[in-house]
Symmetry: D2
Subunit: 363 residues, 4 copies
């Protein structure tokens, strides 16, 4: 703990409910339990590059526990090793890591808490190799960060997606329609799996289980034959057709004005309607899933993460990632999270449970 | 009330939170206060054409007050005068009004309560001219039915849209982005006006006020110059560019694979990003706005509407539309609602209030 | 409008969702549409007495539209004519109206916007008689202020109460219990009437209709005989036994340790359990109904009220109360609201609708 | 799996969000994955004693995933070994275990799934010793059942309590008051710890940490001295004064009409107001915490529990309790849960995190 008098904290990457709760816990723990000063670095690594940071006090982190977004701002496109600058109209890429180190030194930061995804952890690992003390706090709305069983923001995203699926359910039943709801999850199907199960979706399509659209359509038809003239399909944005059908180039041939479909949800909806003749509509939830007040579970987890990050620094740790393992908040080496993802195992117990209650995965 | 022993009730047109609350109030009032029997006609006018109806008892309408959708099913494409049938592969359009009258007589329905929009009220008016007793209950999620100041379902739609706008707000602020949220409202901007005001949206675009995209972009830039590097734009699906720019044919020229934009929200977002250079994202809320449990105000209004419809029949009325006027539930001639819409007056007090707090309408 | 360069705004009386939305609309309209300065007076009339006020700018009223409470603080026990001071241990009551006028003059306030209930409007009327320009904005969670059909905060309170009643419903049904939920409403039963109707409560007890507890118990028993072994009772805190039974002195005789019951809800619950033998539980919602983010309808109404208050000043009005009449925001003389209350008329259409769907009012 | 053709399922003990989700998963898994019949036993063990059960089909368990309560009914006072009957006015207690066994045999139930708390698991263990196959599913809103890290319903209760604490927060701040909110938790403080942390409560009082009221009052005063003239206190219903002060007999001596306080919340509030002079109010949330639609996490967990219970039977298990251990759904011997409770360890990481962000536990 010797040597730490002042730390920096930043949020990097996409927005995620609970970021402010982490910032608050980091600042309150550092100030209240250890007497350290805390500098808030603005807009992720961009603020470090541009030397934009400000002192956080108790006032600054009051009343932010329950709010969405991040009071520090964030940025999901900047990396110090590949920083893009415009010079005389030309775009140039530079390594500005040195500039970051200077700003860290200049502001007397003895350590940095980086709240971010796997890209951010790679940058933090770079910094560690250059002598900077970094504690990582994992952030991913998709819940696919390697090393931790769960991250804050995920429960909120699932809650928002489930609420939308619940609402759509009644409309689908009234109109005897198929409703396809596309939720977040580019590489991992965690949100679709949880929200689909929580809402009793009839079909769940996730990236980890490429689907056969005929199986999906047959399932929908089978329900109709048994008097259930509606179905709810919950699909991850990263779900894939078996055999690799390219969604991106799909054109609706029946339209006088050809339409490129906007995503996997629209593609699946069009195919189901073609195959079954049942009216099918689609909704893409998009950014709504990232915003707003975190659900209580995410506030609690974010508070634990922020508190733990500072306790680790106080205990002398210099390069750890705070994680949840087997239901307990603990920590792993920072670099362990680099470049790996946590996908849904196809034999995951929740997939088995979902199948048991009759869910179709299109396989 | 002489002559009435049994009535029918149907829901027609698009789904709307509060339909079940009306059905419940109709059935409970008719059975409990007047001792009438109530037949539930399935899937709107389609059920009348196909003679699909069932007796409703107290059990059938229990526990439906708070649920979305309609227990009777609905249909928004069938009209008895233009009923489409397939015969030997050919599609043919017929007038099946007589068949409806037969089924009404055969089931001994002394009157029908039609819960629907202006198309449904036209059909009901036709029936009245043929001797059928009809009471209409206005239903429109967009709140644009002529004759009534407000309808059930609208408050719920505004609530869902506001919730989404609130969520998006935090993400926009964290990322310094413009967020464009497209809400329902094909001809009237009520939902955008209310949800935009309730969420403190910076820009509100409605069909009644064609917008100049340069004014919108300048407004967004002006905010950025004053340190507000994000803006929220709430746009009705029926909002229109001043001068009549065709959104439908818009193609993104910068894409190697030309993209037709999916709606007014995407068009506006693309134009704002082009003009300001600020990252801009769009969300189209879609059917989520129609589903799920109605908010308390809609449950109350729906209950009043259903109760009033039966009281009117009991008082001897035979062709009325239940409406709210000046804050009071009352009634007007059924045919008065035909073919007219209630748009937002451009000098509406809420528009003035919104301008007073700084909202830009693009004009 | 001549003469106005700077105004004050205060919130007085009990907390109410939407206060911040009014403050924001007042400040933004005054600053943005008319170029006036706005002083926020702290803690209602107490701040005026103690000369505690601060300049509000755009920053100060940003991000408060959706928040509960009031950024200015409030106080519901101070009146300038009867201000209580402690001097040398003695408590003394003084008229400090002059001190208020001095502080108004000293801060160059050309007018004051008072957001408060009927007590606050009486004080404001006093001020008007002494030459101060005052515009009142009606605030009452109970919705019982004379002169306006509705006030902001009411819809939120109804929403919170309805949510609790909905939750309690499932527990009551599972356990075959009677659940008595006491909601706000000391003199007027608006919240109980609306929340009770919205939740499908079986019994609604309001101050305006003194109830016969035997009728209530018989109703509950009648439901049990028809297989509905549970009932939900929604009771205003100000509901009264017919004949004037004193709830306050009620003691549970069966307890070894005599218990004074905590309110009308507990009294009603005890009597129902005694009479029917059905297990009966009670919940008193209390202050939860006053807090938190306002529902969209309240945010819209509060924005209209605040905007209108400033428009009225700009039009030269000097002593008006902003109100809603027949669905329209308008205004009446400030003193008209003094000392009168808006109770539920016993022939109100919503009472008729509630009776039509089978609700018992205990009469 | 040999021998199982028909099973029974019951819910016993207090209501808990997610019971219907378990019933649905049990029924769908048993019917769909294994072809078994499922009998729903009504009102917990009471239905077994009285031979009230009904065949569940797919229709019966449709649309119940998201609903609160239990479609089977429950009962939290009946135990077969001590069944109370009234004979000729006398109350008599009998062991009716034999009658239960007869009804199990008569209905050809090859196994029973008991969803209940530790009392119910004791009864189920008795049955196992008499040759009945029983799988237990743990149910406790307080989250204090031994053997499982978490149970369904807990997240929903925390969510409801947090929502109330959030609402109360704004009122407390506006009025400069102390607000004491009493939440569930008779023996264990899990709900208070989680909801208190999630809401940023200033003080959390739980049964596991007896509190010194002077420390609490001093903490509140300290906040007031630093400009925070309000505080939020979250207290478990089972929280205890250090030294064992008897709350039950507390009388307010200042009242002309002595008042026995209604619970620990009122006692704490009275003491804080006495000690600090700051206006203090209390709210007891009560049964609202048990009812209504489960949050998504509880629906998912309940689905996993129900599915697992049937999989265990299919695998030949005859006496297991489904549990979550280290984040994974697994199982332990049924009798292991008997008569033990899972309290909050006073060195629990969440307590440390809460202390780190400045929470006072009164010790």
């Amino acid at each position: 703990m010797e040597g730490i008098h002042r730390i920096g904290v930043m949020t990097a990457g996409g927005d995620c409910p609970g970021l402010n709760a982490v910032i608050r816990a980091v600042a309150k723990t550092a100030m209240g339990s250890y007497g350290w000063e805390v500098m808030g670095i603005e807009d992720g690594f961009l603020g470090l590059i541009q030397n934009r940071m400000r002192l956080l006090n108790n006032e600054a982190v009051s009343n932010i526990l329950t709010t969405g977004g991040t009071i520090l701002g964030t940025n999901n496109r900047v990396a110090p090793r590949n920083y893009t600058v415009k010079l005389d109209g030309r775009v140039e890429t530079r390594d500005v890591t040195d500039r970051c180190l200077e700003h860290i030194a200049h502001n007397h930061l003895d350590a940095i808490v980086v709240i971010g995804g796997d890209g951010s952890m790679s940058i933090a690992s770079d910094f560690v190799r250059l002598g900077i003390n970094c504690i990582g706090v994992p952030k991913t709305i998709d819940n696919d960060l390697y090393g931790t069983d769960v991250t804050f923001g995920f429960a909120t995203a699932v809650s928002i997606a489930t609420d939308a699926l619940d609402r759509v359910h009644t409309t689908a039943a009234s109109h005897h329609r198929v409703m396809v709801v596309e939720v977040m999850g580019r590489n991992a199907g965690w949100i679709a799996l949880h929200a689909g199960t929580a809402s009793g979706s009839d079909v769940i399509l996730i990236p980890e289980i490429p689907f056969d659209i005929r199986i999906v359509s047959d399932f929908v038809m089978g329900r109709a034959r048994h008097g259930k003239r509606f179905s709810i399909v919950c699909v991850s944005e990263g779900a894939r057709y078996k055999g690799g059908k390219q969604v991106i180039s799909r054109i609706d041939p029946s339209s006088p004005d050809p339409v490129r479909l906007g995503g996997i949800g629209e593609a699946v909806a069009a195919d189901i309607e073609d195959a079954t003749g049942i009216e099918t509509r689609t909704i893409k939830l998009g950014h709504v899933q990232r915003g707003g007040s975190p659900v209580p579970a995410d506030r609690v987890l974010a508070t634990e993460f922020g508190s733990k990050a500072i306790d680790l620094l106080a205990e002398g740790e210099r390069s750890r990632l705070v994680v949840v393992r087997a239901g307990v908040v603990t920590h792993i080496p920072l670099q362990d999270a680099e470049g790996k993802q946590r996908l849904v195992p196809i034999d995951h117990p929740l997939i088995r449970a979902a199948r048991n209650v009759g869910t179709c995965f299109g396989d």
